[in-house]
Protein backbone atom coordinates (compact mmCIF):
# COMPACT_ATOMS: atom_id res chain seq x y z
CA UNK A 1 0.00 0.00 0.00
CA UNK A 2 1.69 3.16 -1.24
CA UNK A 3 0.95 6.75 -0.40
CA UNK A 4 2.26 10.12 -1.48
CA UNK A 5 2.29 13.20 0.73
CA UNK A 6 3.25 16.65 -0.50
CA UNK A 7 3.77 18.95 2.46
CA UNK A 8 3.90 22.76 2.19
CA UNK A 9 5.89 22.65 -1.01
CA UNK A 10 7.23 25.97 -2.32
CA UNK A 11 9.57 26.72 -5.16
CA UNK A 12 11.17 29.93 -6.27
CA UNK A 13 14.02 30.73 -8.62
CA UNK A 14 15.99 33.76 -7.38
CA UNK A 15 13.16 36.31 -7.14
CA UNK A 16 10.48 34.44 -9.10
CA UNK A 17 7.99 32.57 -6.95
CA UNK A 18 6.50 29.62 -8.80
CA UNK A 19 4.16 28.24 -6.13
CA UNK A 20 3.83 28.39 -2.38
CA UNK A 21 2.62 25.97 0.30
CA UNK A 22 1.23 23.24 -1.92
CA UNK A 23 0.00 20.31 0.14
CA UNK A 24 -1.91 17.19 -0.79
CA UNK A 25 -2.05 13.51 -0.06
CA UNK A 26 -2.62 10.65 -2.47
CA UNK A 27 -3.45 6.99 -2.16
CA UNK A 28 -3.68 4.14 -4.68
CA UNK A 29 -6.53 4.51 -7.12
CA UNK A 30 -6.38 8.30 -7.14
CA UNK A 31 -5.66 10.58 -10.05
CA UNK A 32 -4.62 14.16 -9.37
CA UNK A 33 -4.66 16.84 -12.06
CA UNK A 34 -2.45 19.92 -11.79
CA UNK A 35 -3.33 22.91 -13.91
CA UNK A 36 -2.19 26.50 -14.09
CA UNK A 37 -0.98 29.14 -16.49
CA UNK A 38 2.23 28.67 -18.43
CA UNK A 39 5.11 29.21 -16.04
CA UNK A 40 3.00 28.53 -12.97
CA UNK A 41 5.25 25.59 -12.05
CA UNK A 42 3.23 22.51 -13.07
CA UNK A 43 6.22 20.72 -14.57
CA UNK A 44 8.48 21.84 -11.73
CA UNK A 45 6.03 20.44 -9.18
CA UNK A 46 6.12 17.08 -10.97
CA UNK A 47 9.91 17.20 -11.14
CA UNK A 48 10.07 17.91 -7.40
CA UNK A 49 7.75 14.96 -6.68
CA UNK A 50 9.98 12.75 -8.86
CA UNK A 51 13.05 13.94 -6.95
CA UNK A 52 14.67 15.63 -9.96
CA UNK A 53 14.49 19.14 -8.47
CA UNK A 54 14.92 20.28 -4.89
CA UNK A 55 12.04 22.33 -3.43
CA UNK A 56 12.80 25.72 -1.90
CA UNK A 57 10.84 24.59 1.16
CA UNK A 58 8.52 21.78 2.14
CA UNK A 59 8.93 18.11 1.41
CA UNK A 60 7.62 15.13 -0.51
CA UNK A 61 7.06 11.90 1.35
CA UNK A 62 6.38 8.62 -0.36
CA UNK A 63 5.58 5.65 1.83
CA UNK A 64 5.06 1.96 1.45
CA UNK A 65 3.01 0.26 4.18
CA UNK A 66 3.47 3.41 6.28
CA UNK A 67 7.29 3.25 5.96
CA UNK A 68 8.86 6.31 4.35
CA UNK A 69 10.85 5.64 1.16
CA UNK A 70 14.21 7.48 1.16
CA UNK A 71 14.51 10.11 -1.58
CA UNK A 72 17.41 8.31 -3.27
CA UNK A 73 15.23 5.20 -3.66
CA UNK A 74 12.11 7.04 -4.79
CA UNK A 75 13.04 6.73 -8.48
CA UNK A 76 12.30 2.99 -8.27
CA UNK A 77 8.67 3.78 -7.52
CA UNK A 78 8.18 6.64 -9.97
CA UNK A 79 7.54 6.61 -13.69
CA UNK A 80 7.55 9.97 -15.43
CA UNK A 81 6.79 11.34 -18.87
CA UNK A 82 7.56 14.95 -19.78
CA UNK A 83 7.92 16.89 -23.03
CA UNK A 84 11.54 17.73 -22.12
CA UNK A 85 12.48 14.06 -21.79
CA UNK A 86 14.14 12.27 -24.68
CA UNK A 87 15.24 8.75 -25.36
CA UNK A 88 18.33 7.58 -27.18
CA UNK A 89 17.93 8.39 -30.87
CA UNK A 90 20.78 6.08 -31.87
CA UNK A 91 18.95 3.05 -30.46
CA UNK A 92 15.84 1.30 -31.70
CA UNK A 93 12.68 1.66 -29.62
CA UNK A 94 13.07 -1.87 -28.29
CA UNK A 95 16.75 -1.31 -27.45
CA UNK A 96 15.74 1.82 -25.57
CA UNK A 97 13.29 -0.14 -23.43
CA UNK A 98 15.80 -2.93 -22.85
CA UNK A 99 18.49 -0.38 -21.91
CA UNK A 100 16.25 1.24 -19.30
CA UNK A 101 15.31 -2.19 -17.93
CA UNK A 102 18.99 -3.03 -17.52
CA UNK A 103 19.75 0.33 -15.96
CA UNK A 104 16.89 -0.16 -13.50
CA UNK A 105 18.04 -3.69 -12.77
CA UNK A 106 14.75 -5.21 -13.89
CA UNK A 107 14.77 -8.76 -15.13
CA UNK A 108 13.05 -8.26 -18.44
CA UNK A 109 12.97 -10.38 -21.55
CA UNK A 110 12.39 -9.31 -25.11
CA UNK A 111 8.84 -10.65 -25.04
CA UNK A 112 7.76 -8.44 -22.15
CA UNK A 113 9.39 -5.42 -23.83
CA UNK A 114 7.42 -6.24 -26.97
CA UNK A 115 4.25 -6.54 -24.90
CA UNK A 116 4.91 -3.06 -23.54
CA UNK A 117 5.42 -1.80 -27.10
CA UNK A 118 2.13 -3.44 -28.00
CA UNK A 119 0.45 -1.68 -25.10
CA UNK A 120 1.46 1.74 -26.43
CA UNK A 121 0.73 0.75 -30.03
CA UNK A 122 4.31 0.59 -31.26
CA UNK A 123 4.76 -3.17 -31.73
CA UNK A 124 5.11 -2.87 -35.50
CA UNK A 125 7.78 -0.20 -35.18
CA UNK A 126 9.71 -1.74 -32.30
CA UNK A 127 12.83 -2.32 -34.37
CA UNK A 128 12.91 1.16 -35.90
CA UNK A 129 15.51 3.65 -34.73
CA UNK A 130 14.12 6.39 -32.54
CA UNK A 131 15.56 9.06 -34.82
CA UNK A 132 13.11 7.84 -37.46
CA UNK A 133 10.13 8.12 -35.11
CA UNK A 134 7.55 10.86 -35.39
CA UNK A 135 7.01 13.07 -32.33
CA UNK A 136 3.80 11.19 -31.51
CA UNK A 137 5.59 7.84 -31.68
CA UNK A 138 8.33 9.20 -29.44
CA UNK A 139 5.68 10.25 -26.92
CA UNK A 140 4.25 6.71 -26.94
CA UNK A 141 7.73 5.31 -26.40
CA UNK A 142 8.26 7.70 -23.47
CA UNK A 143 5.04 6.33 -21.97
CA UNK A 144 6.36 2.78 -22.41
CA UNK A 145 9.64 3.76 -20.75
CA UNK A 146 7.78 5.26 -17.80
CA UNK A 147 5.69 2.11 -17.34
CA UNK A 148 8.38 -0.52 -17.82
CA UNK A 149 9.00 -1.00 -14.07
CA UNK A 150 5.31 -0.91 -13.10
CA UNK A 151 5.62 2.22 -10.96
CA UNK A 152 3.06 2.82 -8.21
CA UNK A 153 3.37 6.56 -8.89
CA UNK A 154 2.96 7.76 -12.46
CA UNK A 155 3.77 11.40 -13.22
CA UNK A 156 2.43 12.57 -16.55
CA UNK A 157 3.47 16.01 -17.72
CA UNK A 158 1.28 16.88 -20.71
CA UNK A 159 0.75 13.20 -21.59
CA UNK A 160 -1.22 13.96 -24.72
CA UNK A 161 1.58 16.07 -26.19
CA UNK A 162 1.92 15.29 -29.93
CA UNK A 163 -0.56 12.40 -29.73
CA UNK A 164 -3.37 11.72 -32.17
CA UNK A 165 -6.78 10.39 -31.10
CA UNK A 166 -5.46 6.79 -31.05
CA UNK A 167 -2.57 7.92 -28.90
CA UNK A 168 -4.95 9.66 -26.52
CA UNK A 169 -6.81 6.37 -26.15
CA UNK A 170 -3.50 4.76 -25.13
CA UNK A 171 -3.06 7.45 -22.45
CA UNK A 172 -6.63 6.89 -21.31
CA UNK A 173 -6.10 3.13 -20.98
CA UNK A 174 -2.81 3.68 -19.10
CA UNK A 175 -4.52 5.98 -16.62
CA UNK A 176 -7.48 3.66 -16.11
CA UNK A 177 -5.15 0.69 -15.55
CA UNK A 178 -3.02 2.71 -13.13
CA UNK A 179 -6.18 3.74 -11.28
CA UNK A 180 -6.74 0.07 -10.37
CA UNK A 181 -3.69 -0.07 -8.11
CA UNK A 182 -1.45 3.03 -8.32
CA UNK A 183 -1.41 6.81 -8.15
CA UNK A 184 -1.28 9.21 -11.10
CA UNK A 185 -0.45 12.91 -11.20
CA UNK A 186 -1.18 14.71 -14.46
CA UNK A 187 0.08 18.21 -15.22
CA UNK A 188 -1.81 19.73 -18.10
CA UNK A 189 -4.07 22.51 -19.27
CA UNK A 190 -5.93 20.31 -21.75
CA UNK A 191 -9.49 19.86 -20.53
CA UNK A 192 -9.60 16.23 -21.63
CA UNK A 193 -6.48 15.41 -19.58
CA UNK A 194 -7.54 17.46 -16.56
CA UNK A 195 -10.87 15.62 -16.58
CA UNK A 196 -9.08 12.36 -15.79
CA UNK A 197 -8.32 13.78 -12.34
CA UNK A 198 -10.48 13.02 -9.30
CA UNK A 199 -9.08 16.19 -7.76
CA UNK A 200 -7.65 19.29 -9.42
CA UNK A 201 -5.03 21.68 -8.08
CA UNK A 202 -4.80 24.99 -9.90
CA UNK A 203 -1.38 26.54 -9.35
CA UNK A 204 -2.53 29.90 -10.70
CA UNK A 205 -5.02 30.43 -7.92
Amino acid sequence: MYSLEVINLSKHYTETLLFKDISFEMHPGEVMAITGWNGSGKSTLLRIIAGLVRPSSGKVEMSIQGESIPKELRRRFVGMVAPAFSLYEELTALENLEFFCKVRGIAHNRESSLQMMERVGLAENAHKFCRNYSSGMKQRLKLAQALIHNPPLLLLDEPGCNLDSKGMKVVESIISKQRQWGMTVIASNEKREVDYGDRVINLSE
Binding site: A50, G51, R75, V78, M80, A84, S86, E89, V103, Q145
Partner: protein, 196 residues
Protein backbone atom coordinates in the same frame (compact mmCIF):
# COMPACT_ATOMS: atom_id res chain seq x y z
CA UNK B 1 41.29 13.37 -34.71
CA UNK B 2 42.58 16.16 -32.51
CA UNK B 3 45.31 13.84 -31.18
CA UNK B 4 46.38 12.69 -34.64
CA UNK B 5 46.40 16.24 -36.03
CA UNK B 6 48.47 17.52 -33.10
CA UNK B 7 50.85 14.59 -33.34
CA UNK B 8 51.46 15.18 -37.04
CA UNK B 9 51.85 18.94 -36.51
CA UNK B 10 54.36 18.37 -33.68
CA UNK B 11 56.35 15.74 -35.54
CA UNK B 12 56.59 17.87 -38.69
CA UNK B 13 57.42 21.11 -36.97
CA UNK B 14 59.84 19.75 -34.36
CA UNK B 15 60.84 16.32 -35.68
CA UNK B 16 63.71 14.49 -34.07
CA UNK B 17 66.49 16.64 -35.40
CA UNK B 18 65.84 20.12 -34.00
CA UNK B 19 66.15 19.23 -30.33
CA UNK B 20 69.46 18.54 -28.65
CA UNK B 21 69.77 14.90 -27.67
CA UNK B 22 70.10 15.73 -23.96
CA UNK B 23 66.83 17.68 -23.98
CA UNK B 24 64.82 15.06 -25.83
CA UNK B 25 63.66 12.84 -22.95
CA UNK B 26 62.12 15.77 -21.07
CA UNK B 27 60.72 17.64 -24.07
CA UNK B 28 59.27 14.51 -25.65
CA UNK B 29 57.60 13.57 -22.37
CA UNK B 30 56.10 17.08 -22.16
CA UNK B 31 54.89 16.95 -25.77
CA UNK B 32 53.43 13.46 -25.38
CA UNK B 33 51.43 14.41 -22.29
CA UNK B 34 50.28 17.69 -23.80
CA UNK B 35 48.86 15.72 -26.73
CA UNK B 36 47.25 13.12 -24.45
CA UNK B 37 45.79 15.61 -21.95
CA UNK B 38 44.38 18.01 -24.52
CA UNK B 39 42.94 15.15 -26.60
CA UNK B 40 41.28 13.82 -23.46
CA UNK B 41 39.96 17.28 -22.58
CA UNK B 42 38.46 17.82 -26.02
CA UNK B 43 36.83 14.39 -26.26
CA UNK B 44 35.96 13.22 -22.78
CA UNK B 45 34.37 16.51 -21.72
CA UNK B 46 31.41 15.56 -23.95
CA UNK B 47 30.43 12.45 -22.02
CA UNK B 48 27.79 14.13 -19.82
CA UNK B 49 27.11 17.11 -22.09
CA UNK B 50 25.76 14.64 -24.67
CA UNK B 51 23.13 13.46 -22.18
CA UNK B 52 22.20 17.03 -21.29
CA UNK B 53 21.94 18.17 -24.90
CA UNK B 54 20.11 15.03 -25.99
CA UNK B 55 17.51 15.46 -23.23
CA UNK B 56 18.25 11.99 -21.84
CA UNK B 57 19.77 13.26 -18.57
CA UNK B 58 16.48 13.37 -16.62
CA UNK B 59 15.33 9.94 -17.79
CA UNK B 60 18.72 8.56 -16.77
CA UNK B 61 18.48 10.34 -13.39
CA UNK B 62 15.12 8.70 -12.81
CA UNK B 63 16.26 5.28 -13.93
CA UNK B 64 19.76 4.69 -12.63
CA UNK B 65 21.76 4.96 -9.43
CA UNK B 66 24.17 7.92 -9.67
CA UNK B 67 27.17 5.71 -8.93
CA UNK B 68 26.22 3.35 -11.77
CA UNK B 69 26.01 6.28 -14.17
CA UNK B 70 29.40 7.59 -13.05
CA UNK B 71 31.06 4.17 -13.34
CA UNK B 72 29.52 3.65 -16.77
CA UNK B 73 30.82 6.98 -18.00
CA UNK B 74 34.21 6.32 -16.39
CA UNK B 75 34.58 2.96 -18.13
CA UNK B 76 33.56 4.51 -21.42
CA UNK B 77 36.10 7.31 -20.99
CA UNK B 78 38.83 4.89 -19.94
CA UNK B 79 38.16 2.70 -22.97
CA UNK B 80 38.29 5.74 -25.23
CA UNK B 81 41.48 6.97 -23.58
CA UNK B 82 43.01 3.49 -23.77
CA UNK B 83 42.28 3.32 -27.49
CA UNK B 84 43.70 6.82 -27.92
CA UNK B 85 46.90 5.88 -26.08
CA UNK B 86 47.20 2.69 -28.12
CA UNK B 87 47.28 4.76 -31.29
CA UNK B 88 49.04 7.92 -30.19
CA UNK B 89 51.86 6.59 -27.99
CA UNK B 90 53.36 4.12 -30.51
CA UNK B 91 52.87 6.66 -33.32
CA UNK B 92 54.59 9.35 -31.24
CA UNK B 93 57.51 7.01 -30.43
CA UNK B 94 57.95 6.14 -34.11
CA UNK B 95 57.49 9.62 -35.55
CA UNK B 96 59.67 11.38 -33.00
CA UNK B 97 62.25 8.60 -32.82
CA UNK B 98 61.66 8.55 -29.06
CA UNK B 99 64.29 6.34 -27.44
CA UNK B 100 62.97 4.71 -24.25
CA UNK B 101 65.41 2.86 -22.02
CA UNK B 102 62.84 1.39 -19.62
CA UNK B 103 59.81 0.42 -21.73
CA UNK B 104 57.99 -1.37 -18.87
CA UNK B 105 58.25 1.66 -16.59
CA UNK B 106 57.19 3.88 -19.49
CA UNK B 107 54.15 1.68 -20.24
CA UNK B 108 53.14 1.57 -16.57
CA UNK B 109 53.43 5.38 -16.45
CA UNK B 110 51.28 5.87 -19.55
CA UNK B 111 48.64 3.40 -18.29
CA UNK B 112 48.46 4.73 -14.72
CA UNK B 113 48.52 8.34 -15.97
CA UNK B 114 45.73 7.48 -18.38
CA UNK B 115 43.55 6.04 -15.61
CA UNK B 116 44.10 9.17 -13.48
CA UNK B 117 43.35 11.35 -16.49
CA UNK B 118 40.15 9.40 -17.19
CA UNK B 119 39.02 9.69 -13.55
CA UNK B 120 39.75 13.42 -13.41
CA UNK B 121 38.10 14.33 -16.71
CA UNK B 122 34.98 12.23 -15.98
CA UNK B 123 34.10 14.07 -12.77
CA UNK B 124 34.90 17.46 -14.33
CA UNK B 125 32.71 16.56 -17.31
CA UNK B 126 29.87 15.81 -14.89
CA UNK B 127 30.36 19.16 -13.12
CA UNK B 128 30.24 21.23 -16.30
CA UNK B 129 27.39 19.37 -18.04
CA UNK B 130 24.69 21.67 -16.69
CA UNK B 131 26.69 24.91 -16.91
CA UNK B 132 26.27 27.41 -19.71
CA UNK B 133 29.94 28.30 -20.39
CA UNK B 134 31.05 24.68 -20.54
CA UNK B 135 34.23 25.04 -22.58
CA UNK B 136 35.76 27.75 -20.41
CA UNK B 137 34.66 26.10 -17.20
CA UNK B 138 36.11 22.76 -18.25
CA UNK B 139 39.55 24.31 -18.84
CA UNK B 140 39.43 26.29 -15.60
CA UNK B 141 38.48 23.24 -13.52
CA UNK B 142 40.76 20.81 -15.32
CA UNK B 143 43.97 22.78 -14.98
CA UNK B 144 44.40 22.67 -11.17
CA UNK B 145 42.94 19.18 -10.90
CA UNK B 146 45.08 17.57 -13.60
CA UNK B 147 48.31 19.53 -13.11
CA UNK B 148 49.76 17.27 -10.35
CA UNK B 149 49.08 14.20 -12.48
CA UNK B 150 50.60 15.80 -15.57
CA UNK B 151 53.78 16.81 -13.74
CA UNK B 152 54.14 13.30 -12.30
CA UNK B 153 53.50 11.61 -15.64
CA UNK B 154 56.01 13.84 -17.44
CA UNK B 155 58.63 13.16 -14.79
CA UNK B 156 57.97 9.41 -14.98
CA UNK B 157 58.17 9.27 -18.78
CA UNK B 158 61.37 11.31 -18.74
CA UNK B 159 62.94 8.92 -16.22
CA UNK B 160 61.83 5.93 -18.30
CA UNK B 161 63.40 7.47 -21.39
CA UNK B 162 66.80 8.19 -19.80
CA UNK B 163 66.79 4.91 -17.88
CA UNK B 164 66.85 6.48 -14.40
CA UNK B 165 65.19 3.63 -12.59
CA UNK B 166 63.96 4.54 -9.10
CA UNK B 167 63.09 1.56 -6.95
CA UNK B 168 59.34 1.07 -6.68
CA UNK B 169 58.54 3.47 -9.56
CA UNK B 170 57.40 6.34 -7.31
CA UNK B 171 55.82 8.29 -10.20
CA UNK B 172 53.67 5.30 -11.16
CA UNK B 173 52.63 4.87 -7.53
CA UNK B 174 51.71 8.56 -7.29
CA UNK B 175 49.65 8.31 -10.49
CA UNK B 176 47.89 5.16 -9.21
CA UNK B 177 47.21 6.87 -5.85
CA UNK B 178 45.90 9.93 -7.73
CA UNK B 179 43.57 7.73 -9.79
CA UNK B 180 42.27 5.89 -6.72
CA UNK B 181 41.66 9.11 -4.77
CA UNK B 182 40.02 10.77 -7.77
CA UNK B 183 37.68 7.83 -8.48
CA UNK B 184 36.73 7.25 -4.83
CA UNK B 185 36.10 10.97 -4.24
CA UNK B 186 34.11 11.14 -7.46
CA UNK B 187 31.91 8.23 -6.39
CA UNK B 188 31.20 10.03 -3.12
CA UNK B 189 30.61 13.46 -4.65
CA UNK B 190 28.88 12.46 -7.87
CA UNK B 191 25.38 11.99 -6.35
CA UNK B 192 25.50 15.66 -5.23
CA UNK B 193 26.55 16.83 -8.70
CA UNK B 194 24.04 14.53 -10.38
CA UNK B 195 21.13 16.07 -8.47
CA UNK B 196 20.00 19.57 -9.33
Amino acid sequence: MFAVTTLIAVSFSIGSFRIAEADRPFLYAVLLWIILVFSALSGLSRSFVKEEEGGTMDVLKLSARPQSVFLGKLFFNLTLLGALELIIVPAFILMMNYDIQLPTFFTAMVVSGGIGLGGGTTIIAAMIAQASARGALFSVLSFPLLLPLMITAIKGCEKAAVGANSPGWPEVRIAVAYAIVMIVMSLLLFPLIWEE
